[in-house]
Symmetry: C4
Subunit: 398 residues, 4 copies
Amino acid sequence: MEPKRLYALLRPGNPGIAAQAWRAVHHALVALGIAIMLALTVEDWHATYGEPLSDVFDVIAGFFVLEYVLRLLAAPGAPGAEHRGIWRSRLSWALSFGGIYDLAAAVPGFIAIPDSRAATLIGFIWVFKYVRYSSGLSMLERVITHARQALLSVLLGLVIVLLAAASLAYLLEHHVPQPDGSYAFRSIPAALWWAIVTLTTTGYGDVIPQTVGGRMVAGLVMVCGIMVFALLAGILATGYAEEMRRREFLRTWELVAKVPFFHNLGATLIAEVARLLRARDYPPNAAIVRRGEPGDCMFFVADGEVEIELRPQRLRLGAGSFFGELALLTGAPRNATVTATRTCTLLTLDIVDFFELLGRQPELARVIHEEASRRLGPGTPVHAALKAMIAHDREPAA
Amino acid sequence: MEPKRLYALLRPGNPGIAAQAWRAVHHALVALGIAIMLALTVEDWHATYGEPLSDVFDVIAGFFVLEYVLRLLAAPGAPGAEHRGIWRSRLSWALSFGGIYDLAAAVPGFIAIPDSRAATLIGFIWVFKYVRYSSGLSMLERVITHARQALLSVLLGLVIVLLAAASLAYLLEHHVPQPDGSYAFRSIPAALWWAIVTLTTTGYGDVIPQTVGGRMVAGLVMVCGIMVFALLAGILATGYAEEMRRREFLRTWELVAKVPFFHNLGATLIAEVARLLRARDYPPNAAIVRRGEPGDCMFFVADGEVEIELRPQRLRLGAGSFFGELALLTGAPRNATVTATRTCTLLTLDIVDFFELLGRQPELARVIHEEASRRLGPGTPVHAALKAMIAHDREPAA
Amino acid sequence: MEPKRLYALLRPGNPGIAAQAWRAVHHALVALGIAIMLALTVEDWHATYGEPLSDVFDVIAGFFVLEYVLRLLAAPGAPGAEHRGIWRSRLSWALSFGGIYDLAAAVPGFIAIPDSRAATLIGFIWVFKYVRYSSGLSMLERVITHARQALLSVLLGLVIVLLAAASLAYLLEHHVPQPDGSYAFRSIPAALWWAIVTLTTTGYGDVIPQTVGGRMVAGLVMVCGIMVFALLAGILATGYAEEMRRREFLRTWELVAKVPFFHNLGATLIAEVARLLRARDYPPNAAIVRRGEPGDCMFFVADGEVEIELRPQRLRLGAGSFFGELALLTGAPRNATVTATRTCTLLTLDIVDFFELLGRQPELARVIHEEASRRLGPGTPVHAALKAMIAHDREPAA
Amino acid sequence: MEPKRLYALLRPGNPGIAAQAWRAVHHALVALGIAIMLALTVEDWHATYGEPLSDVFDVIAGFFVLEYVLRLLAAPGAPGAEHRGIWRSRLSWALSFGGIYDLAAAVPGFIAIPDSRAATLIGFIWVFKYVRYSSGLSMLERVITHARQALLSVLLGLVIVLLAAASLAYLLEHHVPQPDGSYAFRSIPAALWWAIVTLTTTGYGDVIPQTVGGRMVAGLVMVCGIMVFALLAGILATGYAEEMRRREFLRTWELVAKVPFFHNLGATLIAEVARLLRARDYPPNAAIVRRGEPGDCMFFVADGEVEIELRPQRLRLGAGSFFGELALLTGAPRNATVTATRTCTLLTLDIVDFFELLGRQPELARVIHEEASRRLGPGTPVHAALKAMIAHDREPAA
C-alpha cells in the first residue's frame, strides 16, 4: 500500500470501514494487553495461567511492533511531508514525540521474551495509546496550558501551606506519641506526609495530631485545602469556558466556509460573516420559515434537526447543514416550510446585517455578486439591493 | 374514564386537584415501599415485624401493578397518538423506556408473594419513580449529554492516572508490609484499590504506602485527584451556564408568545422580538412607570412582582405577566403607575427597537397593524409611526 | 429614646459611633457566650471554673433579654411602620422571624438559672446572631433559592445513587466480615452509612468492602461522588455569577441615582441611563482626563481611587463618587486633570450615547434641561446639542 | 553600582542576563535552604551530616543578609523615589512589608550560629521568597480580596454548621463510647474536632458517631461540606473570570498604547480605541490578509503567530505585535499576504469603527492626522475620509 493510503487508514478520525476495523482491533488489543499485565502481577493467576497469558502478551506486543512499522511506512503520506524525501519524513516522525512513544510501546515485546516481570510491567504505558484517539484530551491540554501561570501559582501556594503546616505541626507535636505509641511528627519530612494527606482532604487517619494546637492547625489546613480545590475549580472553569467559546467560533467559521458562495473568501471575510451569525433556539415543532414568506435570512443548523417540507417528500437536515441561502442572493419568497423536529439551535444570517457588511467590504460584495450571477443564470433576478451595491461599488470607496 | 382524561390525570405537571392527590399518594407509597424494603433487611426488624411489613410491601407492589395498567390504558390519550390505533399506541408505550421500567417496578409484587428476600430487594428500583416528576433532572441530563466528550476525556485521564499510580506503587511497595503485616500492594489490581481510594481523596486508610517513594507517588495522586475534581467542576459549570442561557431564551420566547397580538407570528418572528428584550433589575418600591408619562416600552415580569395602581383597586402581577403593551400600538401616555413590590427583574421591549424591527420585517408590521386595528376599534388612533410604516410597506422593499 | 432613633441605632449598616460601639459589644458578647457554652461542656473546666463561667453566661443571656426589649421598643421606628399603631408594629415584629429568633436567644438566661446543662447548650443558637449583620449571607441565600430546583435534582440523584450503592453493596457483602470480624453490611440501613461516607469522599475507613465486586461498586460510588460535587459547584457558580451581575447593575443604578440632576427621574429612566455606562479599567497613574480637553463624558468611580488636581489642593475620590458631570450639561472643556492613583475601574457615560438617549426619551431631556438651567444660572451657556434637543422636543414626537 | 542599576537588577521581571543569573542563584539557594531545614529535623541525618549541613545553612542565611543589604542600597532607585532623599527612601523600604519580611528572612543566619534547632526551623519562612517572583499569586490575591465579603459569609456559614453539628453530636453521643472505649464526644470542643474533620470530608476515622442519630447528623454534615466546597468554587470561579476579563482589557490597552501613532493619546482615548478591538480566531494556515486587497483594518496578535510574506524573506510575528496599521492612515491596498502559522487569536481594529470614533473624538482625529502627515511624508496620500474628517473638525462641533 502506498504511504498516502496507509496514512489515511491510520488517521484517528477516518470514518472508512477499514479504518474503523483497524481502530476496533487496536483498542481491543490495548485493553487486553493491559488486562493481562494486571493479571500477571497477581501471584495465583501468574502461577496457574502464567504461560498462556505470557504468550498472548507477546502477541500483543508484537502487534505494537507492527503498528510502529506501519506508522513509519506511512510517515511520508502525512500532509505537508511531500516536499521532504521519503526517508527524511520517516526519520522526522521517528524522532517526534509520537514516534518515540510508539517505539517505547513496542519494546515490552522484545524484553518480555525471557519472561522478566519488570518488562511485563512496562505494559502499562500502552494505556497512553488511547490518548491519540481522544479529541477531548487535546482540548483539556489547551485549557491547562493556557491557565498554566495561574495553576502554577496555586501549586506554589499549596507548597507554602504544606511547609508552613508541616513546620507548625512538627513544633507542636514532635514529642507527642500517636495512640499506637509511634512518633509520626518526629521530623518535618514526616510531618509533610501528614500535611499533604490532610490538605487534599484525603485523611487516611494513620497520623492524627493529638494536641489542641495541632488540631487547630489541622482544621486550618483542611479549610485551606477546600480553598485550594475551589481556586483550581474556578481557574479551570474559566479556562474551559473560554476554550469552548473559541471552539464555538471556529465551528461557526467552518459552517460558513462550507456554503458554496463563501468558498472563495479569505479567512478574514469568512470571520466577518461568521461574526454576524446569531444563535437562536427553537422549541420542538416551531415553524421556522413558512412557504411564501419573504426570505430575509439564511440559517445554519448548529444543534438539533429541522424538517423541510419539499413537495412531495420531506427532507431532514441535522447539525452542520444550512438552508434559505437563496434569500441572500435573490430576496425571493421562501419556497418551502421548515419546522424544528426537536429543540434546536440555529444560527441566522440576517439579510440586513449581511448587506450592511457588503457595503463596508467591497471585496466581499464583488465575490458574492459574481457567484449570484453564475448560480442563478441570466433569467433569475438578482436581489435589487445587491445589484445596487455592486453598481455603487464601481465608484471609488469614500 | 376515557384515555385522554386518564392521560391528563397521570401527567406530571398537571395542576388539577385529582392529579395532585394522585401524585401525593404515589410519592408517599414510593417512599413507604423503599422504607419497608430497607427495614426488611434489618435482621431484628425482619424477625419482629416481618409479616405485617411484607403485607404492606405487597400492597404497595400491587399499587404499582395498578399504575402500570392505568398508564397502559392512558397511552392512546398521549398527544400525537391519535393517528395510531388504540392497541398500537399501547404496545408502543409498553415497549418504550418508561413502559419497561414501570413493568419492572410492578414485578416485585409478583415475586415477593413467597417472601423471597431477593425479590424484596428489587424494591430499590422504585426510587427511580421520582425521576419522572423531577423537571430539574432532565436539565442535568442535557448538561451531561452535551459535555459528554469532555467528561469522557477526563475519565480517560483518570484511568491513565489510576494505572500509572497503581503500577508505580506496586513497583515501590510490593515487598513492604503494612503495619498489620499484610501485603496490600501484592499485585496491580490490589494497588488499584488503593489508587482509586486515594485519587478520589476518599482515603479509607486501610492501605497506606510505607516507603518514601510510595508516599511521594501518593502525594502526586492526591494532587491529581483535586485537579480531576476541578476539571469536572469546570466542565459542568460551563455546560450548566450554557444550558441556563438556552432555557432563559426559551422562557423569554414563551413570554412573548403569550402576548395576544404576537399570537399569530411564526417562531422566527417571535424569536426576533424576544431578542429585543432587555433585562432590567429594579430595587423594591421603585416606580417603574408613572401615570401620564409617554408610553415608550412594554414590560414582561421575569422575576419578582409589580403592583399596578388602577383606580380604585390595586393589581399585583407576578412572574410571567406583561403590562404596558398598548404603548406599542398607540403610543398613548401611561394610564396607571406601576411599582416594584420587591427587587424584581423586568424584560423591556423598547418601542424604538420594536419599530426598527418592524421596518425590517414587513410581515411582522402587517400582522401587528391588523391586530392593532382589530383591538383598538375605529375610534382609537393607531401609533403614527406604525401607520406610516404600513403605508411605506405597501411599496416594494428596497 | 424615641423608637426612630433607637431603630437607627440597632440597624446593621449604621456608620455612627454609637451604633458601632453597640455592634462591638454585641459581637464580643456573642463570641464570649459561645466560648463559655463550649467551655462548660468540658468536664474539667466545668468542675474548676463552673461557677464564675455560669455567672458570666447568665450576664450575657441577660444582655440578650435587654436586646430583645430594645428591639421591641424600636419596632415602631422601622420604615413603613408609621401607618400602624405603636403596639401593632411591636406585635408584628415579635411574630416575625427575627422577633421569634431573638426571643429564643433570650431564653437560655431564664432556664439556665438552676444551672441545667441542656439549657446552657441552647447557647449555640447565639451564633445565628451574626447572620443579621452579614450582608453576604443574604446574597448566598438568594443564590441557593434561585438554584433550588437544580440543587434538589442533584440531591434526588444523590439519594438514588446512595440507595443503589447500598443495595448492591448489601447483596455483595452482607456475608463477608470486616477485618475486625463485624458484619458492617448486615442490612441496607447499615450499608447506607458506608455509602454516604464513601459518596461524599469522607472515607472514615470504619467500613470497607472486602470483595472484589464490593470494591468495584465502591470505586464507582467515589467517582459518582466527585461528579455530584462538580455538578453542585457548577450550579452554584452559575447562580453566583448571575447574582453578581444583578447586584452590579443595582449598584450602577444607585451610582446614577446619586447624581443631583438625575434625582428626579423615575426608576426606568435611571435604569436607562445606567444601561449606557461602560466599565473601563485604567492602569495606575494613567491620566484619565486632562485640563483643557473637550469634555465628552462623565465618570463614576466603581473601584479604586482617582486624584483631581484642583489648584491649589488635590482631591481624592474613592468608589461611589463621580466627576466630569458638567460635560453633559455644558460641553465646556475639562477644568482639571484627573489621574488614577491605582488600578481602577471607572464607569463612563458618553455624551454621544447620552444625547442619543435624550433624543428617544423626551421626558428625560426636559428634566435635564430644567436642571441645567437651574444649576448653571442665566450666564453660563447650556450645551448646544441639549438646547437644540429641547427645542425639537417641543414639537410632537414622530 | 548606583541604586538605579542595582534596582533594575533585582526587579523580578528583568529579562537581562545578569538579572536572570541573580534569580537562578536566588531560587536555587531558597530551595537548598529549605531542603537543609527539612533534613536537619530528621534525627538520623542530623546526627550524621549535622555539621556540614549547618555550615551550608549558615552560608545561605548569609546570602539573605546580603540580599537585604542590596535591596536596602537599591531602594533609592525605585521609580517614584527620586523626589525623596536617599536615606528616607531606604527607611521607607525597610518599613514596608517587603522590607520587614526580608529582614525576618535574614535573621536565621544570626540566631543559628549557636546551632539552636528552633532557629533553623525559622528557615521555612524562606519559601515566601518565591512569592515576590510569582505574577500569578498577585492575581489570586486580587481575586480573593474582591470576593472577600462572600468568602467571609461562607466561612460564617461554615462556623454555624460546625457549632450546630458539634452541639447536636455532643447531645446524641456524649455517653456512647467509641469502639476502643474512649469518649470522643465528651465535650463540645472535642466534638468540634470531629465536626471539622467531617465537614471538610477529610474523614480521618479516629472519631466516628456510633448512634443512628449521630450518623444521620454526620451524613448531613458531609452533604453540607460538599455544598460549602461548591459555594467556594462558585464564588472563586466568578471572581477569577472577572479578574481575567479585567486583565485582558489592560493587556489590550497596552497593545494599543504600543502602536507609534497612539503614543501621544491620553488613557481614556486609548481605552476608547481598545474598546473597538474585536477578538477573532483563525484556524492554522488561514490567509488573514491577501496582497492587493483593500486595507480595511489593522491587526494585533493576541495569541499564536502569523507569517508575513515580504519578498524576499518571511517575517513571523508573535503575541504582542501588530500589523496592517497603514490601512488606518492611507487606505492603500495590502502590500503583503499574512497567514496564520497556527491557531491564533487576533484583535482587529476596523477602519469603519475607527473613523466613527474619530468623528466623535475631535482630539483623537487631530492627533492621528498630525501623525499621518508626519509619518507618510508629503508625497503619500492621506486616507480621504481622514482628511475630510479633519477639515470638518475645524468647524465647531455640533
